[in-house]
């Protein structure tokens, strides 16, 4: 799929531009949730970890894959949960009890 470096680079550059456009619109008010949320997204490495740990042969790469799954899952679960917790606190005046 990404064997062609030109294709891979194209995807990378276009995704960076999309990132800049989208993130620039996030107000400073939400910069902390942005960091924890984007952190959870970078936990996408879990996909690589699943592939590394799940192959039939049990070798050192299985061990590395297992540890990678643990840390990447902490990243994903911790990141999304803590972001959710933070975002629930942002209220308008009329939302206040």
């Amino acid at each position: 799929m990404l064997d062609d470096p030109a294709v891979a680079l194209t995807i990378l550059v276009l995704a960076l531009f999309v990132g800049f456009e989208v993130i620039a619109k996030v107000p400073p008010l939400l910069h902390t949730p942005l960091m924890s949320g984007s952190n959870a997204i970078s936990g996408i490495t879990i996909v690589g970890a699943l592939l590394a740990a799940g192959h039939e042969e049990r070798t050192l790469s299985t061990v590395l894959g297992f540890v990678a799954i643990v840390v990447a899952t902490i990243n994903v679960v911790g990141g999304f949960l803590v972001t959710n917790r933070m975002l629930a606190m942002f209220k308008r005046k009329r939302d206040r009890p």
Partner: protein, 465 residues
């Protein structure tokens, strides 16, 4: 065919990530955005498990259960004041995952006795290098923020030379691995070097510069995921990694601009190390005398005011004073005082730190105003209440060319009619710079723990009702 289904699932996940981030543009849509991104992640994970050549589910299940438990406990128990540490730790885990995955892939190539081709070896070294630096760098940032180690910069003679030398060494090791990926001593050397570099690059950076460091490490964790995507030939990882990389880069730039310093200066300047020149210029600025007042004195002024602006800083987080602040604001509003909050971009230890704390204390977010918007309002404001902020309200940044923080955009609190500064003592802030604001005629210093002081103010203000 099945491979195409997985690729399609990754594309869907990437679209959900982008839409999720897009929804972060407003606090009203943000919870939905976070949910969308989480669903995208779930889709990517399930697709990977169902369709690709994964056979050993037990080991995966064990890893996911352990990781979820740790992640959930961390996320639900962490105090809002400790959010910078939490994010630093999560950054570190992201970096570690990338290093591990890139290493595991290299080992699999070796087992199959098949040389990685094209950009794969370059992606492997980048994944290991960036991931490793992110991992240990984040751990050091975590330790500094958690006060497990001194927040002040750790410097030694020839530090930059040593770091430059090690940086060159890392580059040489990268080239070595690319030329011969199966040379294990060289590869191990690269892993060790990246871990060492992460430590050495972050120890000279002071506590007050942590917003920049965390943002930058955030960006690195994304770029490391991106590199891993190239290793696996997985476009989903590349897209998601670049989104996070872009986010971190933008935040890093905003933080640097808010301190009027270059990234290089933040990373290598060891700002906040005890600096003779800074102490000397501080001594010159230490003119006049500081006037100490009681919370009751402040209450008298409050009772004759129409408007107040609260300026929170890291000291508010340390004292856990955000709830007391909200109580004071409520009481003042009951007596007809209009209350707003002025948020400097680098107040606290990470981007947006103060906003989260005040939101936790149920302060409505319409009252949290950004620097550029609120600065014109200070001259018309009766009281500016500075809570544990120092450098971000230092007027020397506007006028005193010799000051280390000259040129930094600040909150113009000195232009308010009265300024209350809540501080534990007269120790200068992290930058080690004296603050002439404390000596101004319209400034009243109230010493003590910020939370105690504010609670006393609430009591005193209540008497005037």
């Amino acid at each position: 065919m099945s491979d195409q289904i997985v690729q399609f699932a990754y594309l869907l996940a990437a679209v959900l990530f982008i839409l999720g981030l897009h929804n972060l543009s407003s606090p009203r849509t943000a919870p939905r955005g976070n949910m969308m991104a989480a669903v995208g992640m779930l889709i990517a994970i399930v697709a990977t498990l169902l369709v690709t050549g994964v056979v050993d589910y037990w080991i995966i299940l064990a890893g996911v259960v352990v990781g979820s438990a740790i992640g959930a406990v961390l996320a639900l128990r962490i105090q809002m004041t400790a959010m910078p540490q939490m994010v630093a730790l999560l950054n570190g885990f992201g970096g570690a995952a990338s290093t591990l995955v890139a290493s595991a892939e290299l080992l699999r190539y070796m087992r199959r006795a098949e040389s990685p081709e094209g950009i794969v070896p370059i992606a492997i070294v980048l994944g290991v290098l960036i991931g490793g630096v992110t991992f240990t760098g984040s751990l050091i940032a975590f330790a500094k923020l958690q006060e497990m180690m001194r927040g002040a910069p750790i410097t030694y003679r020839g530090q930059q030379f040593v770091n430059a030398l090690l940086g060159l060494g890392a580059v040489a090791l990268c080239v070595g691995v690319v030329l011969d990926p199966f040379d294990m001593p060289v590869f191990s050397g690269l892993v060790a070097m990246s871990l060492l570099l992460g430590v050495l690059l972050v120890i000279p950076i002071g506590g007050a510069d942590m917003p920049v460091v965390i943002s930058l490490l955030n960006s690195y964790s994304g770029l490391a995921a991106c590199a891993t995507g190239f290793v696996l030939g997985n476009s989903g990882l590349v897209i998601s990694g670049s989104l996070v990389g872009a986010s971190g880069i933008i935040l890093t730039k905003i933080m640097c601009d808010a301190m009027n310093r270059s990234l290089a200066n933040v990373l290598f300047g060891a700002f906040g190390a005890v600096d003779e020149a800074a102490v000397a210029s501080g001594a010159a600025a230490a003119r006049g005398t500081v006037k100490g007042y009681t919370p009751e004195d402040a209450a008298v002024i409050f009772s004759n005011s129409r408007s107040a602006i609260v300026v929170p800083g890291y000291g508010m987080a340390v004292a856990q004073a955000q709830h007391a602040v909200r109580e004071l604001a409520d009481e003042l509003e009951k007596q007809g005082v209009r209350v707003k909050y002025a948020i400097h971009p680098v107040a606290g230890r990470m981007p947006g730190h103060m906003n989260v704390l005040l939101a936790e204390a149920d302060v409505p977010y319409e009252q949290l105003i950004e620097m550029d918007e609120i600065n014109p309002e200070f001259p018309e404001t009766d009281v500016a209440l500075v809570i544990g902020a120092n450098d971000v309200v230092n007027p020397d940044a506007r006028t005193e060319k010799s000051s280390p923080i000259y040129g930094m955009p600040i909150l113009d609190v000195d232009r308010a009619k009265h300024v209350f500064v809540l501080k534990r003592s007269m120790n200068p802030g992290f930058a080690g710079v004296q603050n002439p604001l404390f000596y101004n005629d319209n400034t009243m210093m109230v010493f003590g723990d910020a939370k105690d002081t504010i609670l006393k103010m609430v009591e005193a203000v209540r008497q005037f009702r």
